[in-house]
Symmetry: C2
Amino acid sequence: MTGEPKSDPSRVRRNAIRAKYDQESINEILDAGFVCHVGFESEHGIVVVPTLYVRDGDSVLLHGSTGAGMTRAVRNRKPLTVEVTHLDGIVAARSHFHHSINYRSAVLFGTATEISDVVEKLRGMELLVEHISPGRWDEARKPSDSEFVQTSVIRLKIEEASAKVRTGGPGEEPEDLETDFWGGVIPVSTVFGSPVEDQENTPKVGVPESINETLSKWNK
Amino acid sequence: MTGEPKSDPSRVRRNAIRAKYDQESINEILDAGFVCHVGFESEHGIVVVPTLYVRDGDSVLLHGSTGAGMTRAVRNRKPLTVEVTHLDGIVAARSHFHHSINYRSAVLFGTATEISDVVEKLRGMELLVEHISPGRWDEARKPSDSEFVQTSVIRLKIEEASAKVRTGGPGEEPEDLETDFWGGVIPVSTVFGSPVEDQENTPKVGVPESINETLSKWNK
């Protein structure tokens, strides 16, 4: 039931959880998704909320309404912790102990600031939109002044980060291989389906390029 | 870009983010998944880590190695915050401001304790295994004494919880409906694929019932 690496080196090579600290591994995990889980201290204790993100060099950019708890925490100079996890499989071992999941996960620590510069903030909005939906920035209406000020864009400069990756088949105790229990992996993937047009206000145009690009980007 | 509800009640009815506090809504979100994001205070500040969970009445059960940061936090009487999020869609509006995601998310606060009672702890392990993989408890080797003591099972009694759910199509400003921009939703789902048998140690038996049950449970 736990996935702690064993001391046998061959076992570690094959299916241990690997801790990674290099920027390339961390960036790869960050760039493979757009939903993160942000932890911060609030008046009610530690809160963890899901939100969207994009990596921008050695930062991640987040956004939210100006009154949201996360924005208030940043204004109060509270640090943010950002976690990103991709679930890749359920690992079924011959023993319960070696049941596990395959996943890629990163945790980021750093200083968070609300972006006040107008040009940098607008660029942040564009990076968020374009990360999730490539080409969409030009295929929707840009923010009005009022919408612009209602939205906070937050930069978390990554000062510390770690990643954990588990891949491969089940770890097993040698004696369990003699049993008739089954061992293997159920692969898990996130699938982005066919676009459904607005049911209430039928668009005047067909599915645009940016939506098809979004599907190609995330369905790989 | 934000999903804050508007004051127009018809708009709110149609596609606002709904905050929910009733136990049934929260249980439904919890029971629809098995990976959560746990926030807690550590020596390094707030940490957020992914881990597996099962709901047990008005608690959630977590597990981990006895030396893990989460277990240490519980032993040090630090509270845990648990967040569960299911991503259901990317919502593309005619304006960037109304772009959003469809999701179901719950955040839980409560007192966490490490289960010391042997019977209750073993039952916790069984609940975790059976939640993720129904029928698997009898189709794999039970924990040995050594494996049993290496694993902590933690009960978080839910004392406070809130949920947020967004469904439906894009919110739009009335004037944006006159434009030729497209509006709609890209549905997102998690897909559990065909089981892949252990490549290194080919099982002596075919895919067992518990693995098929796991696929039926999560692929609905």
